[in-house]
């Protein structure tokens, strides 16, 4: 059974058509990578899944539960949207850690606000956060503030922060694009570890070899449409679509 089903998702910004009907599905434990040049709508797609943008039409279903249906005219209340978006986690390109909180506090803030009322739960949340930061290789950095951490470390805190709410699907929006090349490796390694643990993930990335290694499925987007999708071998190694071929050829030239 698919964990996520997106059908015919459309989104315009004014007169600019950003998503022109996106449909795909994915299974639990799968890693889906979205590639494509900038302006192709990848980021908007992720933002729609996380309710940072409201699609104009289309349907988003998680575990057969309809989270969004553009044909329903009634707008969901803020309260409902907050519950729905917890199915997803999002790791931003620019980390967006909260600067006034330590690494550990960044991870525990939201869970404590949501479930921290009883003291037993509080201890559990803190223990879970410490475990997550440990998994991210940040055991000795928990009490540091974001400005005391490198970009790679900050992004790993952000991943732990997103995982702390146990989302069904974890989304990454170009997680290494704001990092120096020597720091991308440590973040990609952490994502690889998550993939090995069968974490369901959607990753927007420009790291082709990483996408090739880690993905179960790759989607190539251009001009708001899915031009090609399939296994990494199909899409990255032997693309059939002309635009995919062109994109990958340009990409290889730059390297």
């Amino acid at each position: 059974m698919s964990i996520l089903e997106v059908s015919n998702l459309k989104k315009n910004f004014g007169s600019t058509r950003v998503l022109e009907g996106i449909s795909f599905s994915m299974d639990e434990g799968e890693v889906l990578t979205i590639i494509g040049s900038s302006g192709s709508g990848k980021t908007t797609l992720l933002r729609c899944l996380n309710f940072l943008e409201t699609p104009d039409s289309g349907v988003i279903k998680v575990k057969d539960d309809v989270l969004f249906d553009g044909s329903e005219q009634i707008r969901a209340s803020e309260e409902e949207i907050r519950k729905k978006r917890l199915h997803f986690g999002l790791v931003f390109q620019s980390f967006n850690l909260f600067p006034q909180y330590t690494a550990l506090q960044n991870v525990t803030l939201a869970p404590l606000l949501h479930f921290g009322d009883d003291p037993g739960k509080k201890a559990e949340i803190e223990k879970h956060a410490e475990e997550l930061l440990g998994q991210m290789g940040l055991f000795d950095r928990m009490d540091n503030y974001p400005h005391e951490l490198s970009g790679g470390q900050q992004q790993r805190v952000a991943i732990a922060r997103a995982l702390a709410l146990k989302p069904d699907i974890l989304c990454f929006d170009e997680p290494t694009s704001a990092l120096d090349p020597e720091l991308t490796g440590e973040v990609l390694k952490v994502i690889r570890n998550l993939a090995e643990k069968k974490t369901t993930m959607i990753i927007v990335t420009h790291e082709m070899s990483f996408a090739h290694d880690v993905s179960d499925k790759v989607i190539f987007m251009a001009s708001g449409l899915i031009e090609e999708s399939g296994t990494p071998e199909e899409v990255i190694d032997s693309p059939k679509n002309e635009r995919t071929q062109q994109f990958l050829a340009n990409y290889r030239k730059e390297r």
Binding site: F51, E78, R82, P99, L109, A110, L113, Y145
Partner: protein
């Protein structure tokens, strides 16, 4: 003579201090309300508030003092401020609160709008409410950013209180100047300067401490 002058100036300084403290007490929170109004998505709220801010910041505080004190009596033919020293003090306070809350509101607006949208979005994807995002994430970052401009404005207020003398609020300079006429001496005026210097020096130290307390994050 020194004792007489000191006592007179202390009395004037008390009026200065009272005007200063009460202005802050009302203008700091009122400024926040005005800043929300000036950022409102509703035009019918935003535009009038922006207009008021423009008028208040664009005209001299001395003019505002005169209009607020004399205006109601002349236009409405009623003395809304009450009589005597107390009435003049209240009129001065109202003028200062209006003036300073507009200045503070612009500082707040700048501080709030300088917080990157990513901070709000990070809170949203973590399922936080608007209220939680403002109070748990945004507010402290705003405070950190506005402490320097607010402290600047507050030190200006210390000195601006002397403008209240145009409607005969007996603040410290009024008291000092009285000795020129009554005793033919100028040094009490320099003495008032010492009061201002010590007081603004004290405020500078306090704001320095606050900045230091907030320097643990960037």
């Amino acid at each position: 003579m020194f004792l007489t002058v000191t006592l007179a100036l202390l009395e004037g300084f008390l009026a200065t201090l009272r005007l200063f403290v009460l202005t802050l007490l009302f203008a700091l929170p009122l400024g926040l309300v005005i800043s929300f109004g000036s950022m409102s998505k509703i035009q019918a709220i935003r535009l009038p508030i922006r207009f008021i801010i423009w008028v208040v910041r664009g005209t001299p505080l001395m003019l505002q003092l005169l209009v607020i004190y004399y205006g109601p009596g002349i236009i409405l033919h009623t003395n809304v401020w009450g009589s005597g020293n107390g009435g003049r003090f209240i009129a001065a306070l109202v003028a200062f609160v209006i003036n300073y809350s507009c200045y503070f509101s612009e500082i707040y607006r700048g501080g709030i709008q300088s917080i990157p949208v990513g901070q709000y979005e990070a809170g949203q994807v973590l399922g936080m409410t608007k209220h939680q995002i403002f109070f748990k994430i945004v507010l402290l970052q705003v405070i950190k950013r506005i402490v320097p401009p607010i402290s600047n404005e507050i030190i200006t207020l210390v000195k601006d209180t002397s403008l209240a003398r145009v409607i005969a609020v007996y603040e410290i300079i009024w008291e000092g100047q009285a000795f020129i006429k009554s005793a033919g001496i100028i040094w009490p005026l320099f003495y008032t300067g010492a009061f201002y210097l010590i007081f603004s020096g004290l405020l500078t130290v306090i704001f320095g401490k606050i900045e230091e307390r907030l320097s643990y994050f960037r």
